[in-house]
Amino acid sequence: MSTNTLVSERPAGGPPRPYEFPAVTRTALPGGEVVAAHLPGQRMAYAGVLLEAGFVREPAGKEGVGKITADLLREGTELKSGDDFALALESLGASWSGSVDADVLRVGVQAPVDRLAAAVALLAEALRRPLLAENDFDRVRGDRVAKLTTAWAMPGTRANEALNRGLYLPESRYSKQDTGTVASVSALTLDDVRAFHGAHLAFGGTLLLAGDLSGVDVAALGEILLGQAAPEVTPPAPTGARDLVDREILVVDRPGAVQSVLAIAHHAPRRDTPDYTAIEAMATILGGTFNSRLNHQLREVKGYTYGARGGFDLSRDSGVFSATASVHTEVTADAAVDALAEIERIKTGGVTDDELASTKAYRTGSLPIALQTPGSVGGALAQIVEFGLPDDYYTRKYTEYTQLSKDEVDAAAAKRLFPEHAVVVIEGDAEKILPGLTEAGIGTVRVDDEGQA
C-alpha cells in the first residue's frame, strides 16, 4: 500500500450556492391560516395542524392530558371506529404523527401528494370529530401509564426528571415531565380529555402544508380544517424558574448501572432573545457537532463516552441550556470535571476564529441538507409559526451568519453560560460514583430519591 499515489493538497472548493427556503404562502380562513411551502417534484407531502395546546395549557394536576388527547384522536371518530380509521389512513399510504412541546401541540399526516386531500379529510375528521369513548380512553390511559413506567426504567429519564425539579419550583408545569407523570395520567378522566379537546383542539389552529402543491387546492384543504375560530385562550401561568445559587450535584441512584447519565443544566433566555444566532453558533462549537469541544474531549481524547453534546432548548417563555453524555461508571467524576471545564473554558476564553469560520459554513451549508423533505420543511414551518418568525427566516439565516462576529459569539458564551450555578444530575450506581464525585470538589453532592415516574 506504500505505493499508493494520493493527492496531498486538500481541495479548496468554492462557496456554496446561496440557499433559498421555499416560497411560503399564507391563506386566511375563518378558523386560522394555511401556511404552505411549495416543493416542486416532491411526491410525498406533509399536512399538519399546529394548535395552542402545549403542556403549559394543562391544568394543575392534569399533566399529560394533551398527549393523551392527541393519542385518542385516532381511536375512533363520529364516523369510524379506531380500526376503520387506521385502515382508511394507511390504505392511502399515509402515516400519522403527533407531538407536544411547552407551547404547541401538532398533529399531522404524511401522504403521497396525489392522496393528500383524502389524508387531510381524515386528519380533520380525527381532530374535529373524535369519538372520545370511555373504553378507548381506558385502554389508551393504560398504555400511557405503561409507557411512562417503561420510560422510567430507561437510562436518562430519571436524570431528566431530576433536572426539571432542579430548574423549576414545585408548582411550575415545567418541573414535571412533558407528557405527565404516572400519578397525573392515572388520575385523568374522560371528562378531562373532553374539556381539553373542547378548549384547545376542537377549533382553530394553523394548517401547515409542505410538498409539490402545483395540483393542490390549498384553500379547499384549509376550509376542511379551519372553518371556525378557536375560543380566546388566557396567557399561561408564569414559568416558575427556581433561582440557582451554588452548583448542586444530584445523584440519582441506579444500582448496577454500567454507565452514568451525566447532565449539566441551567436557565437560558427565551426563544425571542436578540442574540439567538450567536447563542446557536456558540452552542454548535461547544456541543453541537462531532468535532464540538465536549465530544472531542470526552469521546475522542478520553474515550469516556460514545458521545457528548450540549445545546439550548428555548421556548416562548422559558429556556434551558444542557450538556449530556452517557459515561462509563468508573470515570463518572472525571467526565463531570471535564465537561464543566469545557463549559467554563468557552465562557471565559470565547471561541477561536477557525471554530467560528467553520461553524458559519456548517450552519449555512447544511441548511439545504437538513431541509430536503416535506417532513423537515413542515417542521421548519412549525418553528416559523410557533415563534412568529418571518416567512423567509431560513433564507435570512444565511445573511445573519455571514454578518455574525466573534465578539457577538464570545459575548453569548460569557453571558449565557453559568457552569458555576448549574444543576448537575448524575444518574448511575450511587455506591460506585459517590466517593469520586465528593472527592472531585465540584459542588455539594446530594443523593436525590424524590423522583416519581
Partner: protein, 465 residues
C-alpha cells in the same frame, strides 16, 4: 457505462420511472473501484457514499466486533488528514449528515456536501482508503468509545441484549449471523493493532468498494474526479470469499426458548425471531408485505386483535418487522408486552393464533390488506429516495449486493407484482412453530416467575430450552 433503458410508455417503464426517475451512470476505474453517479440539480448539494463489501459476517472466531471497531478507526486519520479532521473539514465546508455504519453484510461511509465542495469529500474518502493511519493510541481510544457504545446500546438499557440472545439461537454456532455486529467486550479487549492492519490489507481495497455520488453534479465530471483522487490507489489483490452463510434449509427446525428472569426491566416483554428468505430472494418483497400486514401500524392484524379487540397487549409502533440480511437467510421478528394483570402466556397464545391463521390459510390475506401494505411500503420508498443521502445509499446497496445499481428501478414494480398467494407462501414458510426463537423477559412480579421459582433462573442461563 451503457444505459439500459426500458421502452418508454410501457407499464414497466412507468414503474421504473416511479421507483427511481433520475439517471444512473456507471464506471469502473482500473484499480477496480466502481463509481455510480446519479445527477439531480434540484438542490445545490451532493451525497457522497461508499459501500465497502465487508461486515461482521466476515469476522473470524475470537474477532467479533472488529469490523465495527475498524469503521471507527477510519475517522482517526490518514496520510494527509489528522485524527478528527474528516468531520472537521466536512462541517467546515458546510457538509452534514456525516457518519458510517457497520452491518452484518457491509460497511458504509457517507456525507452530504454543498455541491461546490464535492471534491473535498472525494479527497477525504480517497485519503483514508489509500493511507489509513492505524496507531496504538487511536486503537486504545476508539476501543473505549466502542465499549461505551456497547454499554449504552446493549448493556445498560432494559431488554438491550435481546437481539444477541435471539441471534445466538436463530443461527447455528459459526454462522456469520450468529453474533451481533457490536461484538464481545472480551474479544475487543484483546484486539491488537495487527488485526486491523490485516483487516485493512484484505478488505479496504478499491476493488471491494462502490463510490456513489448523487445530486447536483455532472456524471462525467464525477468519474474524472474519482480517477483523480482514487485512481492512484493500488488494488490489494483478490478479495477472499466471505464465510458461507448458506443454510441447509431456511427453517430453524424447532421452537427454541430462552426465559430471562430480570427485575431490572420495567415490565415483562417477549421477543420472537424467525428465519426468513434473504433480501436477494425473489420472495423477499412478499416478506416485507407480510410484516406490514401482520404487524406494522395501527391497522395491522396484530394490533387489531391483541390491542383493540382482546385488550391483552400494550400497543406497539411495530409488532413485526424484517431485516434485509442478504446472505443465506434474513430475520423476521416480533414482540409484545402484556397489559397489567395479563399473563405473557395468554398473549403469546393469541399472538401465535394470529400468525397461524395466516400461515395455514384459514384467514388468508385480503385484497384490502394487500393494498394497505403496498401503499405503506410505496410511501416508505418515496420517502427514502426523496433525500439524496438515501438515494445514494440505495444505489450503493444494489451495486454491492446485486452487482447492478439499476435494480433500484425495479422496487415498485416488484412490490406491485406481489400477490396474496406470494404473501401466503412466505407466511407458511416463516411463521410456523418449527421456525421460531422466543426470548421471554420475566420479572418477579409476573405470574410466570413466581410459580417457577429460582430453578428456572439457572436453566435460563443455558440459552436453550
Amino acid at each position: 457505462m451503457t444505459e439500459v433503458k426500458s421502452e418508454p410508455g410501457t407499464p414497466e417503464a412507468e414503474k421504473a420511472a416511479a421507483s427511481f426517475p433520475w439517471p444512473i451512470h456507471e464506471a469502473v476505474l482500473d484499480n477496480g473501484l466502481r463509481v455510480v453517479v446519479s445527477a439531480d440539480p434540484t438542490t445545490p448539494i451532493a451525497a457522497v457514499n461508499l459501500w465497502y463489501d465487508v461486515g461482521s459476517r466476515h469476522e473470524r472466531a475470537g474477532k467479533h466486533g472488529f469490523a465495527h471497531l475498524f469503521e471507527h478507526l477510519m475517522f482517526e486519520g490518514s496520510s494527509h488528514v489528522a485524527k478528527g479532521e474528516h468531520f472537521e473539514w466536512v462541517t467546515a465546508a458546510g457538509g452534514a449528515a456525516i457518519n458510517a455504519t457497520t452491518s452484518p453484510d457491509r460497511t458504509n461511509y457517507f456525507q452530504v456536501m454543498p455541491s461546490s465542495q464535492l471534491e473535498l469529500a472525494l479527497w477525504l474518502e480517497a485519503d483514508r482508503m489509500g493511507s489509513l493511519a492505524l496507531t496504538q493510541d487511536t486503537l486504545d481510544n476508539q476501543r473505549e468509545v466502542v465499549k461505551n457504545e456497547r454499554r449504552q446500546r446493549y448493556d445498560n438499557p432494559p431488554y438491550g441484549r435481546w437481539v444477541e440472545y435471539a441471534l445466538e439461537l436463530t443461527f447455528p454456532e459459526g454462522h456469520p449471523y450468529h453474533h451481533t455486529t457490536i461484538g464481545s467486550m472480551d474479544e475487543l479487549q484483546e484486539a491488537a493493532l495487527e488485526d486491523f492492519q490485516d483487516f485493512n490489507a484484505v478488505y479496504y481495497s478499491p476493488n471491494n468498494a462502490v463510490l456513489t455520488v448523487a445530486g447536483d453534479v455532472d456524471a462525467e465530471e464525477v468519474v474524472r474526479l474519482a480517477e483523480k483522487y482514487f485512481g492512484g490507489i493500488q488494488r490489494h489483490g483478490d478479495i477472499p470469499a466471505a464465510p458461507d452463510g448458506t443454510l441447509p434449509q431456511i427453517k430453524i427446525g424447532e421452537t427454541k426458548r430462552r426465559v430471562e428472569p430480570d427485575d431490572s426491566v420495567p415490565r415483562p416483554m417477549t421477543f420472537v425471531m424467525f428465519r426468513a428468505p434473504d433480501s436477494r430472494h425473489p420472495d423477499f418483497t412478499a416478506v416485507e408485505v407480510l410484516a406490514t400486514v401482520l404487524g406494522r401500524g395501527r391497522g395491522a392484524r396484530l394490533y387489531r386483535k391483541l390491542v383493540t379487540e382482546k385488550n391483552l397487549a400494550q400497543r406497539e409502533e411495530s409488532y413485526t418487522s424484517v431485516w434485509n440480511l442478504a446472505y443465506g437467510a434474513s430475520v423476521f421478528f416480533g414482540l409484545f408486552s402484556p397489559r397489567d394483570g395479563v399473563e405473557a402466556a395468554e398473549v403469546e397464545r393469541e399472538f401465535t393464533a394470529v400468525l397461524d391463521a395466516l400461515a395455514d390459510g384459514t384467514d388468508p390475506v385480503s385484497e384490502a390488506e394487500l393494498g394497505r401494505a403496498k401503499a405503506l411500503l410505496t410511501s416508505d420508498w418515496l420517502r427514502a429516495v426523496s433525500e439524496l443521502g438515501g438515494r445514494a445509499d440505495l444505489l450503493g446497496q444494489y451495486a454491492t449486493l446485486e452487482r447492478d445499481p439499476k435494480i433500484v428501478r425495479e422496487y415498485l414494480g416488484r412490490l406491485e407484482a406481489v400477490t396474496a398467494e406470494d404473501v401466503q407462501r412466505a407466511a407458511a414458510l416463516i411463521l410456523p412453530d418449527d421456525n421460531r426463537v422466543v426470548i421471554e423477559y420475566v420479572t418477579s412480579a409476573t405470574p410466570d416467575a413466581e410459580t417457577d421459582g429460582d430453578a428456572d433462573a439457572e436453566d435460563a442461563q443455558e440459552a436453550d430450552a
